[in-house]
Symmetry: C2
Subunit: 482 residues, 2 copies
């Protein structure tokens, strides 16, 4: 009875912290117009400091600023529509006095609640999909030695799904700021110039939190990820990354039947396109994703899209660097390139929110998957050995693991943070560890690819990604025990 009480209190605390975490993410999304407007003002201040002769040479700049504001307004319209469609898994209006101490956020960042024993609470409805960024992004605009860098002031908060009471589902209103009303007079308008219903003030002032810059960067990251997964302009990147995986699955499972389709898990599913494509191939396909930033957006695109090219966004406006022309920087991108609901998703498609280790360590997951596909995922681990161990455990004997990606360990070089565990193996060592966990190589090659890159930028980060297919040998093999 005491244990029950303890358990209840722990669950309550967890939920309170999750609400706090989700509020922070919603606030970051809501802050998008203000943060973007602040950028434009910074550009304006620089322009105003120019000597008159230089200003004359750049007389088209005030017009550029006006155009930028219109683009921001269109992006905001999309974001607010997405938030309005989002049904949070908690009653977001409830009081959150989670821990009572000031280290709450810190505690979340330290994965205080990783012990919670809640396996995958995924929905399996092929169209209604609940969703969850390991690969956050930076604007790609600056460094001081021409080599890519790191931003890890904060990391995303833990947001695993719960066996949750969806009580009090509370659609979010948007909070356009005072500034947003000044955007060239056309606050939040859609492509037809109609003022969106999202342009109403949110009644809940608690969303008007202080939003750290890293959170703002994550929103911009999502916008770039949308191009990768859901725009025609992202096709080249998808062809580089997803097509080899899809071809491999197609070859490895030649005689898959509708009656008992093979089951494929995609950890680090991001905005869901790869998992959707695997479903279209006739697999039971489950995407797993850790980030609510991603979850909110993928759910919107998967579940709420009415038609192709429904939305126009301006993903490249947030950097003035490495642009060939202002028109390139301000070019629109239409999304989605396909209508997910009529894209041939097959039965058993799901998106599952939560931390891969927590969700798939559950004993119910052992030996249940025919295939695991990891694309730009392995390096999101604190302990990559643990990831490999889990992948091995959840695969059936004879099951396949297809991997594609670099080794840009997410917790490497986290200066100034609490001491986060980060095991950073070379590719050679990753492969050795995989062999120890009962895998054998079937294929291996290197694929050159980009990730959320602006295809017209003068600077593009290239990955020489490891691509492999490994097969889990039968259970006779001795896997090191823990």
């Amino acid at each position: 009875m005491d244990e029950d009480e303890e358990q209840r209190r722990r669950l309550k605390l967890e939920e309170a912290l999750e609400i706090q975490s989700l509020r922070r993410i919603v606030s970051a999304y809501l802050n998008y117009p203000d943060a973007s407007e602040e950028d434009v003002r910074r550009y304006e201040r620089s322009y105003k400091k120019l000597p008159p002769a230089h200003k004359d040479l750049l007389s088209h700049y005030p017009l550029k600023f006006q155009r930028l504001r219109r683009c921001i307004s269109m992006n905001s319209h999309f974001i607010f529509s997405m938030l309005q469609a989002f049904e949070p898994p908690f009653d977001m209006s409830q009081d959150i006095d989670a821990s009572g101490d000031s280290h709450t956020e810190h505690a979340q960042e330290d994965h205080l609640f990783c012990q919670a024993n809640n396996a995958c609470s995924c929905e399996a409805d092929p169209v209604r999909i609940t969703c969850s960024d390991q690969h956050g992004c930076m604007e790609g605009s600056n460094d001081t030695c021409r080599s890519p860098g790191q931003v890890y002031a904060n990391k995303e908060v833990d947001n695993k799904s719960h066996n949750q009471s969806n009580a009090g589902s509370h659609p979010l209103s948007s909070v356009p700021s005072k500034e947003s009303e000044e955007y060239g007079g056309s606050a939040i308008t859609d492509s037809n110039g109609n003022v969106s219903s999202s342009a109403q003030h949110c009644s809940d002032p608690s969303f008007q939190l202080y939003v750290p810059l890293v959170d703002v960067d994550k929103v911009r990251c999502i916008i770039r990820n949308i191009v990768r997964d859901w725009a025609s302009e992202g096709k080249n990147e998808r062809d580089q990354c997803y097509t080899p995986i899809l071809e491999e699955l197609n070859t490895l499972f030649p005689n898959r039947s509708k009656e008992s389709p093979p089951a494929c898990l995609v950890p680090g599913a991001g905005l869901g396109r790869l998992a959707l494509e695997i479903s279209r191939l006739g697999f039971i396909s489950q995407g797993n994703e850790f980030s609510y930033y991603m979850m909110i957006c993928s759910s919107f695109i998967l579940n709420n899209s009415q038609t192709t090219d429904e939305w126009t966004i301006y993903p490249w406006i947030h950097s003035n660097c490495n642009s060939l022309s202002d028109n390139d920087q301000l070019r629109p991108v239409s999304i989605p390139d396909i209508h997910p609901a009529s894209a041939g998703i097959t039965e058993g498609f799901s998106m599952c929110g939560g931390d891969f280790v927590e969700v798939y360590s559950d004993s119910s997951q052992a030996g249940t998957w025919d295939a695991v596909v990891t694309c730009f995922f392995l390096d999101t681990a604190h302990n990559i050995v643990e990831y490999i161990e889990i992948i091995s455990k959840i695969l059936k004997d004879g099951g396949v693991w297809i991997n594609m990606g670099p080794l840009l360990y997410h917790f490497a070089d986290m200066y100034g943070q609490e001491d986060e565990m980060s095991i950073e193996l070379s590719l050679e060592d990753v492969k050795k560890v995989a062999l120890q966990y009962g895998f054998e190589f079937e294929k291996e090659r290197t694929i050159e690819t980009t990730y959320t890159t602006n295809p017209k930028s003068m600077m593009q980060n290239h990955y020489f990604a490891a691509f492999w297919t490994m097969r889990k040998k039968s259970a006779t093999v001795q896997v090191p025990s823990e």
Copy 2:
């Protein structure tokens, strides 16, 4: 007389601030062993947290840590030798109570002293060269969305050369820390295992300053820059960046004579290789560089190298990310690939320290150069229009401007900083501005290249750099007046 007094006081203040700035840079260099050791300790802490079964799989790790420490020790040996050879332009031991207020550093960062009217104080001795990173670097190990990012917490302090009293030139001693003596028992040894004379404690405790992480990153950046400019492993990058420039100069100045060689300026000269190669072609060649980090290193390589492959450094040890194998990460690089003193430098080779705008705005510079070569330099401007204007002014009529580089504006997106001016033009606009300043295009193309990239890394940042040759039309052309 009052004005004289005022002037004297200002110069004194400037010098005090320069000393402070140089002390900070020397401290960053001296901090290299400690900062690197701290990284290894972080790796060790993560390793110790592994469950026993995982630790068993990585039983070679303790040996890797030992190897890392030996590499750090070798790098430290190089750095300390460089610092010992460095002759600072000031008496570094003098008291510095520069401004008396706590905002000194801030003031430096704000270019308080940009008004100082000191033109180029360069030495022209072809072998004895005084030197001065716009393109700082990051370890390239991490971000959260696969696109390169920015680090601009601090920027380098202003370090223009002075009409300086080289009084009390004071060779610096090194400060190996207590930790350095623990490095596998082989503290600061050269490749023959001899303990270097640099392993003596510095008598000046003021160099044991707190060293911010951005400064540590700049030291690592320099190590990568050495590969770009002075190692065989950097040849591919030099062939991409420098060879097209050298070929163009060779073609444009076919009949250059020893008696009156054409004069070529290289702003943003970095570690000096490009300027040296231009000198070898028979040009009067002057490199201009803003950063003391770069100056100290280029001076050492240019003036103190005894032979090729004199030093062994380990440039790739500072990131565990995107490595194919530990051996790749720990591979040595020999420097320099050529012996500068016997490399065929021709008369009039110099390196000039200081801010490009300050040094070359001086009226004495007008119309003095036959060629200006900008390689990864234009985007270091606060105001790129000003750079273009100055390049136009200092060229003779009919002189040529060869440019190669992206537009990764260094002062873009400097969140959290004082409001730094940053004018970020698209390539199209840069070219329009150049036309306005009297240039006409002779050649234009795009060159794909890297910058200080580890050629064996799974992640490489690619630049689609603009390459052009423009000619300054004769003076009849109307250039917009200021």
